[in-house]
């Protein structure tokens, strides 16, 4: 409360934490023309003992997850939680509204019954699942974000066009800018570059 930290210092600290800055090295990136080459190269790079590997591609490349060791997405389980939340919300809402807060007798029908609550319950389950899935897709991917050091790579823009990039990140314990770049070239990557953070 006594004094606020210097904004410049704060920004520097945040950048440091995110691994951003001209003095930082983000990764070694190389490009491939074909998805199969990317998978093969990824497998070989991982075989050399690298662990912090990523790939960038214009469409999902099959086999890349196993090749570079991307863990399985947990979105499915989170979506199930969303569905349960939706079902609970709907049942509680319909019960509370119909039976407790505003009981209306219409045509002698019961104030609450499982059968007539099915359609709204189903719809809310779907709605909650969809919203949860949607938010988690971006949240688990670390998005949205406006800046990422991989954008400093010379042909980063081609990863959304027609090129397949292989990334070995600098926080890999085996990372050494010169050595890693050499390894990258040895597995057939073009345009290998040490990219700043």
């Amino acid at each position: 409360m006594s004094h606020s930290p210097d904004p410049a210092m704060l920004i520097a600290q945040i950048k440091d934490k995110l691994g951003i800055g001209e003095d930082k090295v983000y990764a070694v990136i190389g490009e491939f023309a074909e998805p199969e080459e990317l998978v093969e190269a990824g497998r070989r790079i991982r075989g050399m003992g690298y662990t912090k590997i990523d790939a960038m591609s214009p469409f999902p490349v099959h086999g890349i997850d196993e090749a570079i060791g991307v863990p399985y997405s947990k979105i499915g389980w989170i979506a199930v939680c969303g569905a349960i939340a939706g079902i609970t919300t709907a049942q509680v809402l319909i019960y509370y509204v119909g039976k407790i807060d505003y009981p209306l007798i219409i045509g002698g029908k019961p104030l609450f019954d499982f059968t007539y609550s099915i359609p709204p319950t189903f719809e809310l389950a779907v709605l909650f699942t969809a919203i949860t899935t949607f938010l988690c897709t971006w949240g688990l991917s670390g998005l949205p974000r406006l800046y990422h050091p991989s954008m400093n790579y010379r042909s980063a823009h081609r990863a959304s066009d027609d090129r397949f990039l292989l990334v070995v990140e600098a926080d890999d314990p085996k990372f050494d800018a010169q050595k890693t770049a050499q390894d990258m070239r040895s597995v057939g990557a073009n345009d290998v570059e040490v990219v700043e953070g």
């Binding site: 214009p58 979105i75 949607f134």
Partner: protein, 473 residues
């Protein structure tokens, strides 16, 4: 596998889905160029069409303002026909939307690769159709600004009451609003990788910022794709029962009543089949226009259109079967009111509407048994229009003929649409077309990342065969 796929006959039986593009960059260029074109580079016919449809949107605005100012008496609804064009149009537009979800979700689950060229525009069509649909019940309340409290269970001091969850009308609110939200999320999720492509291609600052924000910082990382693919599968998985539930719930609005001609258990599947039928026809109309004006013949091939026509044939026949079943049950039930309703439907005051519907929905699509008809662009354009006319009449016939003859002959009536009815409906068509035209021009109309995946796959399947093959222009 390769021995089979190298068979030259395969090109005839199962031609490639992406034609004429030399590599992935060509695909990006072709699809993005529509979005990135300068104002004067877009054909003049586009801007003229947009001006025409935009004027119709103004008409819609005027009609709705007039309605709100005056009251819903400006529509032709009367006693006994309390539900007329408004609910007809609502069901019509919701039905149109269903093909979009079917293409994007159900065909995705069935691994139908041909959907990739058409799913984005079909999903957009869903959104716009549901928007048009929502206008009718919303304005039928008379005070749309208060409808929020009437329709949704929001605690409020405005009314101090809650909705009746035993009513299918509130189920409908849940179904349609969920449908819109989920379709929007699904559509946007699919759009993100393509927005990233546009961001990376952007040359001016404004486009960089706009697409930079919209694409959420997507960079196509393997980790992104892994979550993305899983999420896409889940969204497709939940959209599939959702789309079936939405039109089932819409049909409950009728089926849970005790009106002869409405009170039938066949309604949910019959409505869903009809919805898919009309929706596919509408996708066809829009795609044929887009394919022609934007020169997308190599991406939306005859094979895509042929496949869609097969679905139109199947769903049209299902609808025809449902008509027969309805008549059979009306006779077999022995219920005099039910029998009268159906005889009245075919030979009563609305005979002209009923026979328009039978001709357009059941008889005309039978032409699609012939391959020549399924691959003729003019035939499919005309049939896509007649199908939608037929499906509009189907809803009108179901709604109007049952209400027009009440149990007591003293309560018999006839519905005449007013000019406000007609102009409002035309206005929603204008809104639909305007939104679609804006979408086709300002967002990638074809899912680039998905088409690239298919193209890359086909490159190996059709190795050596695609070269030099004439594209269907």
């Amino acid at each position: 596998m390769s021995a089979v796929v190298q068979d030259p006959q395969l090109m005839v039986v199962n031609p490639p889905l992406v034609q004429g593009a030399r590599d992935l960059h060509d695909l990006t260029d072709q699809i993005s160029s529509v979005v990135e074109a300068k104002v004067y580079e877009t054909p003049l016919k586009y801007w003229i069409t947009l001006m025409c449809t935009g004027s119709i949107v103004l008409l819609l605005g005027a009609m709705l303002t007039y309605l709100v100012n005056t009251g819903i008496g400006v529509w032709g609804n009367n006693r006994p026909i309390g539900w007329a064009w408004d609910i007809t149009n609502f069901v019509f537009w919701i039905g149109i939307g269903h093909a979009g979800t079917l293409i994007s979700a159900i065909l995705f689950l069935f691994r139908q690769k041909w959907r990739t060229s058409i799913n984005r525009s079909a999903e957009a069509m869903t959104l716009f159709a549901v928007m048009c649909a929502g206008i009718f019940p919303l304005f039928h309340t008379g005070r749309p600004w208060r409808a929020f409290y009437w329709l949704f269970p929001i605690p409020n001091t405005d009314l101090n009451l809650w909705q009746n969850f035993r009513s299918p009308l509130i189920w409908d609110v849940f179904a349609v609003s969920t449908y819109f939200t989920v379709s929007l999320l699904f559509w946007f999720t699919g759009l993100v990788p393509d927005l990233a492509t546009l961001r990376d291609r952007a040359t001016c600052k404004i486009r960089q910022v706009v697409f930079g924000i919209l694409s959420l910082g997507w960079r196509g990382s393997a980790r992104h794709w892994r979550h993305y693919e899983q999420a896409y599968l889940i969204l497709a998985g939940i959209s599939t029962p959702l789309v079936l539930s939405v039109h089932s719930v819409v049909s409950f609005d009728f089926a849970t009543s005790v009106i002869p001609g409405w009170h039938t258990t066949i309604f949910p599947p019959y409505f869903v089949a009809g919805a898919i039928f009309s929706g596919f026809a509408c996708v066809m109309t829009l795609l044929l226009i887009a394919r022609w004006t934007l020169n997308l013949q190599n991406l939306i091939t005859i094979k895509h259109l042929d496949n869609m026509n097969k679905i139109i044939l199947v769903t049209g026949s299902v609808v025809g079967y449902a008509y027969c079943t309805e008549f059979f049950i009306a006779w077999y039930s022995g219920n005099i009111y039910e029998r009268f309703t159906f005889l009245n439907r075919a030979f009563g005051p609305y005979w002209w509407a009923a026979w328009t519907m039978y001709s357009c929905n059941v008889f005309i699509p039978q032409l699609y048994w012939f391959r020549k008809m399924r691959t003729n662009l003019w035939v499919m354009f005309v049939i896509s229009i007649t199908t939608n006319i037929g499906m509009w009449f189907e809803r009108f016939v179901i709604i109007a003929t049952s209400l027009t003859r009440d149990f007591l002959p003293s309560s018999w009536g006839y519905f005449h649409p007013t000019w406000v009815d007609i102009c409002t409906f035309i206005g929603t068509i204008g809104l639909f077309l305007t939104l679609f035209l804006l979408f086709a021009r300002f967002l990638p109309m074809i899912a680039m990342s998905e088409v690239k995946g298919v193209a890359s796959h086909e490159k190996h399947v059709f190795a050596g065969q695609v070269e030099g093959s004439p594209s269907h222009r």
